[in-house]
Amino acid sequence: MAATIRLQQERFDGALEVARLAGGRNDIGAIVTFTGLCRGEEAGLPLVAMTLEHYPGMAEAEIARHVEAAEKRWPLLGVTVIHRFGRLTPGEEIVLVIAVARHRQDAFAAAEFLMDYLKTRAPFWKRVETAAGTSWVEAKHADNISADRWAPSPSRQAAAQ
């Protein structure tokens, strides 16, 4: 399976990444693309910027582990994951997940699985700047529930509380 994992400061072009992954092939029946964007509002205040800190080395390895898990679970023909770090402004893209497969169910499921795990397991932390100052974004319990549904584990649920 073709897997591309990139962490980068610069912006990316989702359409170009789809073409890179799926262009020139005729075995693919479904392409699911998810792009996460930086919203222009945080807790009711206009957002000036968002800064993403990450753990170099571990972030790539952790994403790769989940791409391998997705590949074992669904018959995929390719995956691309791009996650940005550094300072982003509203409207800019943060993350891209592309999953391609023969059938749409596998591509949808794999893309959602990867996003749920990126939210809770990939070592990235968001800090937002508003007129009220800067603050670290708090992890959402709902994101843990989303990730847990793929592999229910009592210990992870306990850790989230």
């Binding site: 571990m58 952790e62 990126l118 939210k119 070592p123 932390w125 968001k126 708090e138 850790a159």
Partner: protein, 83 residues
């Protein structure tokens, strides 16, 4: 052994990483957090609620009860907010 800190754990401690000699009697991640929390006000602040601090041992997520063994790098950080 190298310790690395991220996000508000890094900010509270005031440095991104440091080298330490693991003291005798410290065998788990939880032991290490407790020992660190007694190293000064900044550490006490960072580890004031150890239940919410996540840890990675040689770049793999681990639980607090995990044995440190011969780890080369241990990282402490808040719950992750990527994606």
């Amino acid at each position: 052994m190298k310790l690395r800190y991220f996000a508000w754990v890094r900010e509270r401690i005031g440095k991104p990483e440091e080298e330490i000699e693991l003291p005798a009697g410290i065998t788990t991640i939880a032991d290490l957090m407790h020992w660190l929390s007694q190293r000064g006000e900044e550490y006490a602040h960072a580890f004031e609620n150890p239940k919410i601090i996540r840890a990675a041992l040689d770049r793999m997520h681990v639980k607090a009860e995990t044995a440190i063994g011969g780890a080369r790098e241990i990282a402490f950080f808040p719950p992750m907010t990527g994606g």
